[in-house]
């Protein structure tokens, strides 16, 4: 009998909690001396934008030429980039106003150019996934140096939106690149309860607590809809799934599973795959349990946000009755033409 979606989500939550909480709290303690501005300050410093586009690092980002389309289309809103999409964008001359990071492990600093690259372990994650083809392939060291230079160049124009549980290496890297850092506490549990960990973080650092959805795309969406107060939010490169032609070995879950459970057979793995047919482009994408959970949570966050939400990715598994399916160009130009 297969696990139900709810069981899968619950197991996933328990697993990530168990694995991540110690590291998150360690990061929190180390970040304390550096917490100055919080996202609350942003509400005073910047006017609510007419709209915001949140850019994730899903495969549609490079498959659909997102950066080039952003460059040639006028837009008077703001760009909120996930850390994973950041290098893709700035490499192509698109500098977002905000970059948001969520993860708690320090190897993620690679997205910003890692000054200590030689100390890290193997980077199969970056090499193997269906991400920006220009990001690290064979010449990792040279690519990394080039990214450090580029991030330092654009850093003063970018605001880093960081959770208090972020690896100190990322916060340090953002500061060194000249970014203004704005902090937030992640919502880790139900803050209504007196013993809530979220409430404990808040008592130590009076920064607003924000739902992250477990990934940068979702966190960027919440940030745009709540902190920035954008009434119209677009999503690009947030697919929560894989295109049908993506080999299994180019997916994160498969790589994790093969590394940790070598005896896994392809048949067993295929049992874990979830297929989702997108009614707008009538394409069947596949996704794995983690990304399916992310999708479910993101749809829940979108339901709660109550802002006009457009998916401009052109594909993927993120769709619902509440989400308008809009071309990137229509969204950027203020339209809301539905396409299907």
């Amino acid at each position: 009998m297969k696990l139900t979606r709810e069981e899968m989500l619950r197991t996933f939550q328990e697993t990530t909690w168990r694995k991540g909480i110690d590291q998150c709290l360690k990061n929190f303690e180390e970040n304390l001396p550096y917490v100055e501005r919080t996202v609350r300050d942003l509400r005073w410093e910047v006017a609510a934008p007419s709209s915001a586009l949140v850019v994730g690092m899903g495969p549609s980002l490079h498959r659909r030429g997102t950066a080039e389309r952003l460059r040639r289309t006028p837009y008077d809103g703001v760009l909120v980039s996930s850390d994973g999409a950041f290098s893709y964008l700035i490499r192509r001359g698109v500098v977002p106003q905000y970059v948001i990071s969520v993860d708690y492990l320090d190897w993620v600093v690679r997205w910003f150019g890692d000054p200590e690259l030689e100390k890290r372990g193997p980077d199969g994650y970056f090499k193997n996934l269906d991400i920006d083809p220009q990001f690290i392939k064979d010449d990792a060291e040279r690519q990394n140096q080039e990214l450090i230079r580029l991030v330092n160049e654009v850093g003063p124009r970018v605001k880093a939106i960081l959770p208090t549980t972020i690896p100190p290496a990322i916060a340090r890297r953002c500061r060194e690149a000249g970014m203004a850092v704005y902090w937030w506490n992640p919502i880790l549990d139900e803050q209504d309860r007196p013993e809530s960990l979220t409430r404990t973080l808040y008592r130590r650092v009076k920064a607003p607590c924000m739902a992250s959805g477990g990934n940068c795309g979702a966190a960027g969406y919440v940030f745009a809809a709540t902190v920035l107060g954008a009434k119209r939010v677009g999503l690009a490169g947030i697919d929560m799934g894989y295109y049908p032609d993506t080999p299994l070995e180019k997916t994160q879950f498969y790589l994790e599973m093969k590394a940790r459970t070598p005896e896994l057979t392809p048949e067993e793995y295929k049992e874990l795959i979830i297929r989702v047919t997108n009614p707008h482009d009538r394409t069947t994408y596949y996704t794995d349990p983690p990304y399916y959970c992310y999708r479910e949570v993101l749809l829940n966050l979108i339901d709660q946000a109550g802002v006009e939400t457009h998916n401009c990715a052109g594909g993927g598994t993120v769709f619902s009755d509440r989400i308008r399916w809009t071309s990137l160009e229509d969204f950027l130009q203020g339209g809301s033409k539905w396409i299907s």
Binding site: L3, T16, E190, F253, E256, E268
Partner: protein, 60 residues
């Protein structure tokens, strides 16, 4: 539903069908698979609020 639990008797014994070995294996495998995850993933939850700024904290 909890109010109804255990406050009535059934007229006959009801047998809950046992899961087959294959079903148990698959379930166990999926649990194990999920337990192997880690790495880049932070916290996943469906929160009651998107943002909380200590509204009910004294002195907030």
């Amino acid at each position: 539903m909890d109010l109804l639990k255990g406050n009535y008797k059934l007229g006959k014994n009801v047998k809950v069908p046992e899961k087959s070995k294959a079903e148990k294996d698959t379930e166990e495998f999926e649990r194990e698979a999920l337990a192997q995850l880690g790495g880049s993933i932070c916290f996943v939850s469906k929160p009651k609020k998107l943002i909380w700024d200590g509204e009910d904290e004294s002195g907030a």
